[in-house]
Amino acid sequence: MAAYILRRLVSTVAVMAIVGIFIFLLLRLAPGDPAAIIAGRSATEEIIAGIREQLGLNDPMPVQFLRWVRDMLGGDFGTSIFAGRPVLELISQRLEPTLSLSILTMILAVTVGVSFGILAAWRTGGIVDRLLAAFSALGYSVPVFVSGYFLIYFFAIRTHWLPVQGYVPIDSGLGPWFVHLILPTVALSLAYIAFIARVTRASMLEVLSEDYMRTAAAKGASSYAMLFHHALKNAGVPILTVIGISFAYLIGGVVLTETVFNIPGIGRLVVDAINNRDYPIIQSVLILTSGLYVLVNLTIDLAYTLIDPRIRY
């Protein structure tokens, strides 16, 4: 097991290195000049050239690359060209909103999605199953900017029950923190509920049709025991995979939700950085996100051993 974990961690470093080179080249080869954006729309070429020189953007690409790698190996992820602050400080400021939204979304999506999926599988063709089919179609097809504005209109503008936008840090009080996250969590979780419910239903149906389930039923096992002790445990591996991948995707993929509900998270940090060509931020976030993806996948793989003792590394 230890050797397996070590191998996977080494592969994480390799993935991050490849991503780093790719991102560095992509950013430098793509059109766009941070100096021109800093200088403003009507700035002259002379002023833009001065800023470019000051930022070190005139240095040859290999020099810039080696400088970046050297600094990063020393733990320095660079300074934002625009904000003038260390990139890690900016990322850490944005991590809390994104993690809060992602965790709440996963809690809601897993709770509702798995429950829906089990019920639908247990009564295939019944009312819950049909409702799930309809809900899944809706959850997949309604983009977050539609469901988001819909929720804002009814629950913030019409009724004033919940705030339209913004994020309150958790250390400013659990109540305000939670209240500001209700609408974005609901809007974001719709698609994930649909996804997890469909996968749970499919996995459960497969397990429920196994011989040992018929044997359990013949031996008089209760519905509860059959569903939760026998079926869900055996259907757990694909469900866990979906949950893990969804969570990893959420960390880097909540841009639209963060934009609609004005949550200052990682997604918006990257989008703003791309618009501004703030290279140090883009490079650092993408590298760290790639590492996170690999680590989440590793965690899922290790978690398999907990629910299925046949799996060994």
Partner: protein, 535 residues
């Protein structure tokens, strides 16, 4: 302790209480919501108002820094930090004395040395400042409160240059900050203005907080434009960066914010019908939309092709694409803007309501246009450029011009516009840009009215006769003389077609009716004098 449901419940309550304590403590020191105004503007990406020439950073500068002179509502310069000033008989030496009570946010007094260093730094980048540095024999402090500017030759526009509000404006910074090169960003945010920047609440990309500077001593005069007493009537102003326009508007409707600088055009009618909202125009001078043509490449290296563009443009139709409500748009035919002191109607016979596509087709033919590709740089993240470029391409195709759009974001456009080569090598032929109408009235502030070839702004227009007249601009003493000079320059400009005007847009702002006392000036929204009443 055994883990029971009851113990778990108790632990949950204790954790919740502990997490709430910081907010309780903070609430005791925070200004009340009734004395806090929340505004949505653009994102404040850069804090140094000399390092960048963007309006939003100038807005930030106006809050935390102060200026030597300031323009009143009639655009006349008035002393602001300066108490007394005078000029020698030969009009070559100006002496300035700072008024009493000026102090930095760190508690130290503002000195003449700070002013001298600030002028020198600003003089590296601002067009007016660069002219001043060329003309200056010496800029030095006499004592802690007095400094002089000695000139080689009289410069009639000196005070106007010092007071100009086209970014980068002359904000006075501490000497140690102003000693940096203008191409190096100042990292501190300590000014002497009526607001203090709250570093503890800074959330880059999300929110920026300004607290009332209780030590600030305003002038005694009533506020008038940027001049007069800067009396702050709220405790705190927060700039929230809400990138989604619809969300920003919903926040305004719900009362979560009080001010929206760029309300979406589609919502104007909704705002007008909402009893809690207002849609006033603060910047009555507006923004002129312009089309830059590349003088170095075919077909616009030929004056006939440039004249064709002048005749092709239907300003009313173009502006309708941008702003459906005609109340906020107008045509513009003067190179000096529509409402400046030097706007005029010289040589504007080319203007025809609806444009003249037939004449444009004829002129392209006379220019020897043979179907070569005409590349329009289209900025897809700027609605005016995005929509306007598509409209432009369609109009060109109607008269047989092989127009091709080159879409990218503004960042991509800024790279490509610097390419002077032919379109086959990544060059370009035209792109849409904008300039404040006010700035076009001041030749020393805008680079868009230069026609000195390689040194001119993108498009690199060149005309020696025009440039000879432009060189006289700063030395002309009276407004009447300047108006006469402006007419001559405009006559030449429209003959060689230095650029093409597309119309003017006056953008209203939206705010809740609880906000009063907003000062209307071009480009910058000052936060002093603003009041918040209960809903």
């Amino acid at each position: 302790m055994p883990i029971s449901r009851r113990n778990l419940f108790k632990a949950g309550i204790a954790a919740g209480t502990a997490l709430s304590i910081p907010s309780v403590l903070r609430a005791q020191t925070m200004p009340t919501a009734a004395r806090t105004v929340r505004m949505v503007k653009e994102d404040l990406r850069v804090f140094d108002p000399i390092w960048t020439a963007t309006n939003i950073t100038a807005d930030h500068g106006m809050a935390i820094y102060d200026t030597l002179f300031a323009l009143d509502s009639k655009f006349k310069p008035q002393p602001q930090m300066v108490g007394k000033w005078g000029v020698s008989d030969d009009k070559k030496t100006y002496t300035f004395e700072l008024r009493d009570g000026l102090g930095w946010h760190d508690g130290t007094p503002v000195t003449a040395a700070d002013c001298v260093a600030s002028i020198r730094r600003w003089g590296q980048v601002a067009p007016g400042g660069q002219l001043l540095m060329e003309q200056a024999r010496d800029i030095s402090k006499k004592d802690d409160k007095t400094f002089t500017i000695a000139l080689k030759e009289p410069l009639g526009l000196l005070i106007d240059i010092l007071a100009d509000l086209t970014p980068p404006c002359l904000f006075i910074m501490r000497e140690k900050d102003a000693s940096l090169s203008a191409t190096e960003q100042v990292s501190t945010r300590i000014g002497s203005g009526p607001f203090k920047f709250n570093e503890a609440l800074l959330r880059p990309g999300a929110s920026y907080t300004y607290d009332r500077n209780e030590q600030y001593v305003p002038r005694k005069e009533a506020p008038d434009g940027f001049a007069g007493g800067k009396v702050v009537k709220v405790d705190r102003v927060v700039w929230d960066n809400i990138s989604d326009q619809q969300t920003a508007f919903a926040a305004l409707q719900a009362g979560e914010i009080e001010f929206l600088q760029h309300p979406p055009v589609d919502f104007f009618s909704v705002i007008e019908s909402d009893p809690n909202l207002e849609l006033p125009v603060l910047d009555r001078t507006g923004k002129d939309m312009l089309l830059r043509l590349n003088f170095l490449q075919k077909p616009f290296d030929n004056v006939k092709a440039r004249q064709a563009m002048l005749h092709l443009i239907d300003q009313e139709a173009f502006m309708r694409v941008m702003v459906p409500d005609p109340k906020y748009v107008t045509t513009v035919t003067s190179i000096f803007g529509d409402e400046t002191l030097v706007s005029n109607d010289e040589n504007t016979g080319w203007y025809k309501k609806g444009g003249d596509p037939e004449k444009a087709r004829q002129l392209f033919k006379e220019a020897g246009y043979a179907g070569e590709k005409v590349v329009i740089l289209q900025s897809t993240d700027w609605a005016a450029s995005n929509n306007g470029s598509q409209f432009l391409a369609a109009e060109l195709r109607k008269i047989g011009v092989n127009a091709e759009l080159a879409p990218s974001d503004w960042g991509g456009l800024t790279t490509r516009r610097a390419n002077k080569g032919p379109v086959e090598n990544g060059g370009w032929n035209m792109f849409i840009t904008s300039e404040a109408d006010y700035s076009l009235g001041n030749l020393l502030a805008t680079p868009l009215l230069l026609a000195n070839g390689d040194k001119a702004w993108y498009g690199w227009p060149k005309n020696d006769e025009y440039e000879a007249l432009r060189a006289k601009w700063a030395s002309v003493e009276t407004l009447e003389e300047r108006k006469a000079l402006a007419r001559k320059m405009q006559g030449i400009w429209w003959d060689f077609v230095g650029d093409v005007r597309l119309g003017k847009y006056i953008e209203p702002i939206a705010h809740r009716k609880t906000i009063t006392g907003l000062i209307g000036m071009p480009q910058i929204v000052p936060m002093w004098n603003m009041q918040k009443t209960s809903a």
